[in-house]
Symmetry: C2
Subunit: 130 residues, 2 copies
């Protein structure tokens, strides 16, 4: 259960954003893919729109940032990390950006991500709640 001393240790409904960042991400085969670099929140509603994964050193794609719709991440208490049900080829073809690219992370970007993964399209496209 989340406490003041350990806000990340939550068996309940909540998790601290600082605990999400840095958490390891696995595929369904239990292979380590990378980690969560950051979570992008809607300023007004506070809704997490996507998690930005860092796959540096994994998949041979260098130091890239990989936005994934929030609902693609499932937390696994056994592994102590997030599981994404996406195979390597799916990840390799997804929107991925290098650290030096000045790519907008805002609405248009979110639509690209949502369209690729086939989730959250209405939310990203219209700004309406999912």
């Amino acid at each position: 259960m989340a406490t003041i001393n350990n806000p990340g240790d939550t068996g309940g409904r909540l998790i601290a954003a600082s605990k999400v960042n840095g958490t390891t991400v696995y595929n369904t085969a239990g292979e380590k893919l990378g980690s969560v670099y950051d979570v992008m929140l809607d300023k007004i509603s506070g809704q997490a729109q996507y998690a930005v994964l860092s796959f540096g050193g994994f998949l041979g794609i260098g130091d890239k940032y990989h936005p994934l719709p929030w609902n693609q991440l499932k937390y696994d208490t056994g592994q102590g990390g997030y599981i994404v049900n996406l195979d390597r080829s799916r990840l390799e073809g997804a929107p991925v950006y290098g650290a030096s690219e000045m790519t907008s992370w805002d609405d248009g970007f979110g639509r690209d991500v949502a369209a690729y993964y086939g989730s959250g399209g209405a939310y990203y496209g219209s700004g309406a709640r999912p």
Copy 2:
């Protein structure tokens, strides 16, 4: 606008969770109250339920953590921080916890916070979206 290089520099709809943490919090008079310590997210929906403010050294209440419903925080681009429309007496009477208290940050806690500030009660109480 948020970019890969500077995810916090967003003139748009999104902000990186890592940028929220550590941001200064002011009252409407422009007085510095403290800073955002962390944001508690609903694991499943990704909805920010509350921001945890740290008022250590301010208000004479020592190193305390102060949960506030997300919708009480308004970002002010001019000041580069969050504004909370709450006076000192309101903050002093609010649910506040010390670093050593093993208080649950989960559902019951959220209900206390929402009840005090009179916002988000339905959300905290039922788990339904606001």
